[in-house]
């Protein structure tokens, strides 16, 4: 337990000093994006990982809050009004979403969420008097809570980090609460849970609302980060990307979605822009660089290859997969040691409990 506490403190300190270590504005912005998408992935993970309900429409919910805040700001309201109102509207949309989608589970649930997400995308695209359609809505100012302006990259990173830590903490509390345990129960044995007197629908509904809350918050951060929102942010590909973050990192773990978000954002934004200089008479090193350049340029191919590799080698996701491999390595090391009598090491600490 103490080892774990130390790890948490070290991680928080590490995240806080990020903008002091990498001073370049561009990378601080990338770090902000990772945190923002990590909140989105954490929200989606509540459904995918703990409730066993795969949603393909979460970008729609994300978009409702985004458009709400952008519309209210464009209409002249202040940040203090726009943000709570957008969260409220996001939650309302989530309730409607949940009420409709939770009539089903499994594949039907996926299809319903997909359809609902597409409806919201269609609204964003076609309800031009409100959303400006394809041209989107520009937001010109970022808020300045307690007199601290978020207009600088570092200020925005700090604010996002605070919200991110709150999101992680609330997810941890939610998962460890009796409600979280009951939710996992409805995932594994819904009928038995029902027989035991649990209200399966209500438990799932609560999980959906919590997921919607995190999603709405990330949507609002997205608008403030980009200072712009247009229908592309709500498209099916955005929902699928969120799902890939959760699954590649490890669904049903707290750290997994964060790692997945970092993976996707880094490949999409940083790796896609990397280029090595290749000298013209190609040596072996140059040939490697040449191939890497090609991969970087076709970054979605690279991302796809990484996902395939994850599915093949760590089907449970990067975080649980690495834990498993590390544990296996530890065990092999121990076995060779156990030939000598005194070296009975304690079993490896489990960083993430699956359930």
């Amino acid at each position: 337990m103490t080892g774990r506490r130390i790890a948490i403190v070290v991680a928080i300190i590490g995240l806080v000093i990020v903008p002091y270590v990498i001073t370049e504005v561009y990378y601080v912005n990338i770090a902000s994006q990772i945190l923002l998408y990590a909140i989105f992935a954490l929200g989606l993970n509540v459904l995918v990982g703990y409730a066993g309900l795969v949603s393909l429409g979460h970008a729609g919910l994300f978009g409702v809050a985004s458009y709400a805040v952008a519309y209210l700001l464009a209409a002249g309201f202040g940040h203090a009004v726009a943000i709570p109102a957008a969260i409220g509207i996001g939650l309302l949309a989530t309730a409607v979403f949940a009420a409709l989608a939770l009539r089903a589970s499994g594949i039907s649930f996926i299809m319903i969420t997909l359809a609902l997400g597409e409806i919201i995308w269609g609204l964003a695209y076609r309800w031009i008097s409100v959303t400006h359609g394809d041209n989107g809505i520009n937001v010109t100012t970022r808020p300045a809570p307690f007199g601290l302006p978020l207009s600088s990259a570092r200020g925005f990173y700090d604010a996002t980090l605070i919200i991110f830590l709150l999101a992680v903490a609330s997810s941890a509390i939610f998962v460890r609460s009796p409600l979280g345990a009951a939710l996992c129960g409805t995932r594994d044995q819904p009928r038995r849970m029902n027989a035991l007197g649990f209200h399966v629908w209500m438990i799932r509904f609560m999980a959906f609302m919590f997921s919607g809350l995190l999603t709405s918050i990330s949507g609002i951060l997205f608008v403030y980060y980009n200072e712009f929102i247009s229908p592309q942010a709500l498209a099916l590909t955005a929902s699928a990307e969120g799902l890939l973050m959760v699954i590649s990192g490890g669904a049903g773990t707290l750290l997994g979605p964060v790692v997945g978000a970092a993976l996707v954002v880094i490949v999409k934004n940083v790796v896609s822009g990397l280029r090595f200089t290749v000298l013209s008479p190609m040596g072996f090193a140059d040939l490697v660089k040449f191939v890497l350049n090609g991969l970087f340029q076709h970054w979605n191919f690279l991302l796809g290859a990484i996902f395939v590799a994850i599915v093949v080698f760590m089907p449970e996701g990067l975080v649980p997969g690495s834990v498993r491999l590390a544990r296996a390595a530890w065990r092999t090391a121990n076995r060779s040691k156990s030939a000598r009598p005194a070296a009975a090491a304690p079993p490896a600490p489990v960083a993430e409990q699956k359930r």
Partner: protein
Amino acid sequence: MSRRLTARSISRRTLLAGTAAGATIALTRFPTPAIAQAAPFKLGLLTVKTGPLAQGGIQMEQGVLTYLKEKNYTMGGRKVDFVSADTGGNPAGAKTKAQELVERDKVDVILGPLAAFELYAINGYIQQQKMPTLSLAAADNLTQRQPNPYLLRASATSSQAMQPMGHYAATELKLKRVVTIVEDFAFGYEQMGGFQAAFQKDGGCVVNKLWPPIVTPDYTPYIAQISGCDGVCQGFAGSNPLRFMKQYATAGLKYPVVTGETGADDALLKSYGDEAIGLVSACPYTLDLDSDGNNRFVSEMLKNYNTVPGFYAAGLYINCEVVDAGLQGAGGDASDKQKFMAALKAVSLTDTPRGPIKFDHLNNVIGNIYIRRIGREGAKYGLKLWNKTIKTYENVSQFWVWPEQEFLAHPVYSRDYPPLTKC
């Protein structure tokens, strides 16, 4: 010791010739500041190399590279460092990549992005960063009612080519009643708004406007609604015009069809069949233009990429010409963004691939619009079809024939403006 060595190895004649050559170079070379000489000029491109918009995006990069190769990677007397970034065709990607170019790569100018929503997403940012940007995106309002002082458009607004098309359709093709059909997005609205306004000004009448979604597998239900007219105006983009024209011909419709710059782009000619014969288009660039500037551009494109250029490649090549001339005008110094921008705005070129261009005070191009008709006659470069120029409207501004004040007093062209009226 070294002096003796030098003195011995260089004869008087060589010395004389060397001095003369040095003096000539020193006198004729552009006077550029020493600092600017040392650091290369950084040229950034925002394009789309992945996803559905990639075809145009790749042509954009080819246009830039063709120019750079031709000039041996120099602009305004400075070595050019070229950085290309792939936005993936979405606004968030455009924002991140613009930040990458500005903050990490510290570019001096941005070329691109391609789509209007990408430009809208970075519009505030480039203004805040004072980053000179030469975009291909056609969004009308960014050089009209919401001008951005750091944005320069050497291509055209969405409606710039369609307004002459409206005039031509009414006065020369003598069309009276036209049905318009275009994708349901801002570029489509602004194209058809421009067509309708100009066409109705000269006595024509738009009887119906059809808006199929961008991804429409089958246009038949829309084509079935085309009736009660004597002409059709389509404004499709990407590969959609190919499918539309095919289905239009299959449906047996014979009304003449007119279109804008994307509907009959020269890069589409190799994919069109007989169904496109007779298609009349208005475009700021035409492959058919027989000028030194265009012939050089086309032959370089064929040599480098073995491909016939269209509007996207030409647009970026022209953007490069503007940057080059602007950098020369600023004495090779791009460090003062305001001065550099002023120099870019003041550029006026006579022999670009699209002919002469200059800029209005809102930073939009004034240039020729070519009316072309597709036929077999005159086809070159292994093509079977050819866009033959049948009329040139010279020095067309984004306001067409209206005074600027009057034009800007209207709302921006949209799905509902100008409204459909009984006529």
